[in-house]
Subunit: 363 residues, 3 copies
């Protein structure tokens, strides 16, 4: 318990945990104040995701390399998964799909771009292991292609909904099998190619296993509860702020869900350990495509009002393809400078601007 309190004291971001009780109190006292609830739930989710990733890493560190790596990789995007599940239960499929597409774009453009930029401000030119970066970028590209092909092909044709559902289920199975094989590859047969993000923060002691497991379970429940409030309030709050649903799903949800990965990625870049930043950004994006997406399709048959397909909005297809292609090209050389980061961030900003301005009915 001391370890947990020490962590909270030392990490300013965790002070936001104060908003967790506040959001529950507010939700019961003023359930109609959607905009307030939205802001409070965002402020509460961010520290919870940080706690979640600390707890996951501590458990992973205790139970050994291979199994721990699997746990770490699987729960690395737990926050995104829980938020998407809340949206799935509420039947908001547009938001669910945006919470698949958004993190892929956010990881490959924003987190990677900001890492290159922040690292580049401190170091004239940064090098990273281009062999493993290329391998990971290839995996990411193929993973997203696998995710998007049905949308691309179906857009070209006028196909029925029954076909789309059957195809989506089939593809979800293929993606999930690929995920299993990718775990075998990255943890077992070729682990030397992948930088372990869990051992990143040196000098940080892992929590005792009991505390870690308890935190993991407790925080998961808290994230789930806050996510309910978040998903309920997000659409009305978005309208109040003048944001389109596409902007909220793609940008806001993705930034909130990805907040916990940012400190490690950015501080890695500042310490000239770009391998770590690239690994986090590309690995997380691959995982969304290969693990989170198929799991959501499977679960939609049980907890959603209707099965969900993997048919994406055409604009999302374009953005994801360009984001992953960009990541492939940019990581290809194994070198980076601040302006490469600027350009990635600029593409992200252009996506965000377009989504922000897009007339709501067209999404």
């Amino acid at each position: 318990m001391n370890a947990l309190l020490k962590d909270i004291r030392d990490t300013p971001l965790l002070w936001l945990l104060a908003f967790v009780p506040i959001v529950f109190v507010a939700a019961s006292l003023k359930p109609e104040a959607q905009t307030l609830l939205f802001v409070l739930s965002v402020l509460a989710i961010v520290p919870l995701t940080v706690l979640l990733s600390h707890a996951t890493e501590s458990v992973a560190a205790k139970i050994g390399d291979a199994l721990g790596g699997l746990l770490n990789a699987t729960l690395g995007n737990l926050a995104e998964l829980i938020i998407a599940l809340a949206a799935l239960r509420a039947g908001q499929y547009m938001l669910v799909k945006a919470s698949i597409a958004g993190p892929i774009v956010t990881n490959t453009l924003f987190i990677l771009g900001a890492s290159f930029f922040l690292g580049g401000l401190k170091h004239h030119e940064q090098q990273f292991n281009h062999v493993s970066a290329r391998m990971q970028a290839s995996l990411l590209f193929l993973a997203t292609v696998a995710l998007l092909i049905p949308s691309a092909i179906s857009q070209a044709d006028d196909v029925g909904q029954a076909f789309t559902h059957k195809l989506s289920l089939g593809l979800a199975i293929l993606l999930f099998v690929t995920y299993g094989l990718s775990m075998w590859f990255s943890l077992k047969t070729h682990s030397e190619l992948f930088v372990s993000a869990s051992h990143a923060e040196e000098g940080e002691e892992p929590w005792p296993i009991g505390l870690a497991v308890a935190t993991l379970l407790g925080v998961t429940v808290l994230v789930a509860l806050v996510s309910e409030i978040f998903v309920e309030s997000v659409q009305k709050a978005a309208a109040a702020f003048g944001m389109t649903p596409a902007f909220v799903g793609f940008i806001v949800v993705a930034l909130v869900g990805g907040a916990s990965a940012m400190p490690t990625a950015f501080s890695g870049a500042r310490k000239n350990r770009l391998d770590l930043s690239v690994s986090i950004a590309l690995g997380s994006a691959s995982q969304i495509a290969l693990f989170v997406a198929p799991v959501l399709v499977f679960l939609s048959y049980f907890i959603g009002p209707a099965p969900m397909d993997l048919q994406f909005w055409p604009g999302a297809v374009v953005m994801i393809l360009i984001a992953t292609l960009t990541a492939s090209l940019v990581t290809n050389s194994g070198r980076s400078a601040w302006f490469v980061g600027v350009l990635l961030l600029m593409v992200y900003l252009i996506f965000a601007t377009t989504l922000y301005m897009l007339p709501p009915q067209s999404q």
Copy 2:
């Protein structure tokens, strides 16, 4: 003749030659048993294509490097060409186009992917000459772009059929000129960049020239005759098996036509000679785009019921572009491991699944 018999005895795949007489007997006795004829014709074509490539290589080995290389490269996709010609004569343009698009996708995803996978199961990490691989991947990318641009541009616009035919003929001429120049490049000025697939099987004696030429001519006639039966039976058989025409054209025909290249590509990968596998896969795909496609357009003016254009089904355009782009990215690093093969195969499987499920009317 002894050489031919020895080859047949030593190559189990050639035992399938027994199906060649069987398919002719079946076609005259039971012309209405389309499904049976389809299966028999597939079983007969596969060993014939193997024989065809043995004969081509033997002739090529006898007549010297440059001319032999030209012959080898030109007749390397003879089986695909003959099948497509049978479809052309029957006026089945959808099948003709699928037999252009299908082998490009099959070579770059299935043959390359299976080579990486099979090689990776035996070797932890495989390296190949990335200079020549990049050069070949660039050629392939540009060749397929050249093939696809008219489809991409025409899809964006509503253009007439007269325009499409005129443009297709013009482009076929450009593609054919490019093919001639690529032969000059790969056989004459820069032959050191290309691994000669014909000298691959060491210890295998080339046949005497007389036998080789006789086999080449005889087998070509046999392939043509069996292809007629294959093309006639394929649509009805496909329906019986529950396959869509797109699946048959893209996947079945391409796998049958490419069967002869697979043993060399796969055994090359197992022997850690990935350069050979990459060369076969990418070279064959380029050749389809630059040689087979324009020749089919030219011949459609003489033997088809109407001229054929190079307008592809939108889904095919997406698949070809992604397949060649993937090949470019994946061969870029000059390294491979088993999971890269899995991912290529997975994308192929996703294409196949999508085509298999696609409602027939939408193609």
Copy 3:
């Protein structure tokens, strides 16, 4: 003045300056002879753009590295900008947009391809600095993606014109900011990655500053005046030659505007200084996307009959994306041979053929 006369005597291309007075005389005597005026104005613009780039380089050489580099980079596409402005004033937005899209395609396919081809005819294999080439190709890819994303997204949806205008203005601001940062990057913090095109022609003495500034101003006025005649005559002349407006905008205008860069790029390739050729081709294309395009949007609010958006014709989007992707893939290896040039030129030729044949109403 002697320096100017000496330059004219030594550069055969500058003898075409004789057409400058001729075109003005012809325009006042025979204003209805559109085809003649078109040919004369093309012949007059080409030497003027050469003079413009000599003058710019001389001024740049005098005022020091950083400021001179900025001037050189900014005025490097002055000719394209002036021609586009003439089209903007005449309200010919199709021509303005083609004069943004055309030079990107022309630089990445024609100038780069011809450099590789001409250099490859003399040298068996050419190497260039792939670190800076990759960096520049990444910048170009991201710059054009930034330019095209709104078109790609809007095509997927049915969005209103008000949205398109607002979005285009927002993006023009983002592009312009990016341009400013790219100048800071390439001239100040990371100038070692970029080959300075201005110091390319060794042994060529820069003009005295007075002459250079006077020439710069005078020639700019002349280019502007001739461009008026060019833009006025181009559509009717195109019809007379049987060219479509798309062909004129994409191909003719881009070749005329880019003529001044070609001698340096091509002679660089012949002298085995491919770095210079790559730098000119990719740098110029980036500049069009990041500088010329947003400036034209800004100026359309002041000098055009109506504001201009950045919505491109779908075919142009496809061509630009493929051109820049091709440039990325081709420059990636840092090696080149003549056939790589042939393939780039062939893709250019295929674009040109398609545009030439395209029915006019479909653009």
